[in-house]
């Protein structure tokens, strides 16, 4: 069936906690799905029908507020877990930011399997605790920091995750974002205009360069980190 043995996230997703024998049963519940950029797989407020592991691509967790604006709660990458086990409804949507593939499981079946496999539940608990920590940090950023600091913190995180690792202690970091200005605005709780102005400000301060829409080159990582810390 599903070729877990060859899965790119076999040893990093929560499946890592399963023995080969258990993995067979587990994988028979699962199904691979591919998503195109912009496509959703879970919808805010709807029944929590499935959960899954990201095997490729980048997805965002987002909520829509009454006034039409969107807020992104976080971004998830390969080997991350998505969905809401042990609960009836999903509090946020899951939308692909790039073409993506996800190994999905019916939620009820997953719940049952997890209940009888403590090691899997333990790994899931660990993940959930880490996600809570990250969400709390993000909350502080959004509650207290200026637009400049938010952009800087975002770029620092992205540079760490996405930069070319050719020469690790490189003084300048280049990376290509998988999303546009509106996505950044939704993530940081800002408007697209403010995002644009802050990026321009950082460029004029000589801290970074933007050769094109998607690419960023951090010229002065220290100064960028300093921006992320203040106000």
């Amino acid at each position: 069936m599903t070729a877990c043995a060859q899965c790119s996230v076999r040893d990093t997703a929560i499946c890592q906690s399963l023995m080969p024998a258990e993995l067979g049963e587990f994988s028979r519940m699962g199904r691979h799905r591919t998503l195109e950029r912009g496509q959703a797989i879970l919808w805010q407020g709807e029944q929590s029908l499935l959960v899954g592991n990201i095997t490729d691509g980048v997805v965002k967790l987002s909520v829509a507020t009454q006034d039409g604006q969107g807020q992104t709660l976080g971004v998830r990458y390969p080997s991350d877990f998505i969905g809401r086990p042990f609960g009836e409804i999903t509090s946020h949507s899951v939308v692909a930011m790039t073409d993506a593939s996800i190994c999905t499981f019916p939620r009820a079946a997953f719940d049952g399997f997890a209940h009888t496999h403590p090691a899997l539940e333990h790994t899931l608990l660990q993940r959930t605790l880490e996600e809570l920590d990250r969400t709390q940090q993000w909350l502080v950023l959004l509650a207290r920091k200026s637009a400049r600091a938010r952009i800087a913190a975002f770029l620092v995180e992205m540079s760490q995750r996405l930069s070319d690792h050719g020469s690790p202690p490189s003084p300048s970091l280049r990376f290509s974002l998988p999303f546009g200005r509106q996505d950044i605005a939704d993530l940081l709780g800002l408007t697209i205009e403010t995002v644009s102005r802050q990026i321009t400000g950082l460029r004029k301060a000589g801290i970074l360069e933007t050769p094109n829409r998607r690419d960023f080159v951090v010229l002065d990582p220290e100064a960028l980190a300093a921006c992320a810390e203040e106000g």
Copy 2:
């Protein structure tokens, strides 16, 4: 030893998942502590040495930012779990907002016990997932809502949790907050002056009354809820 049988949160804290026989072993690891208002039991950035259940009082989870301001991540009540199991450090402080008592366990011992008691881990996972949901909702509030909406949402939540339940479908709700204006400001990511002005605004709009510093009477719950939704 510890009289779990008479514990006020025996059936609502995570201990609910333990059989009486297991409870004996569990309770021998634990120790009751009392905290005075303002006293901390866990410190941001320090080693995660203990976890526990709140048995009485109200505590806040807070982080200090570089600029000296505090941000409260959330408020926890009796039967809630506090601390960071399965992790080396605590990302936030836990401070008593009223005199409080907490049933504490050494973190390492708790981790070991949980590992061998799947039902306990399952309950803990459920709690953590719920806490994540709440934190995400709170994040949206802080990222997108106006000061007025934040205050209103806060008061709605407090009124639901603390109001006199003498006559449930009562048109006006009265409750007494266990904390001052600065606490509210830290929780909502605002300044104390803004909190004060918004409360005054709601009072002048006839939505609530403030007979004294701590007490609130919601005269128009619908209007308050409407404020919480907009902008």
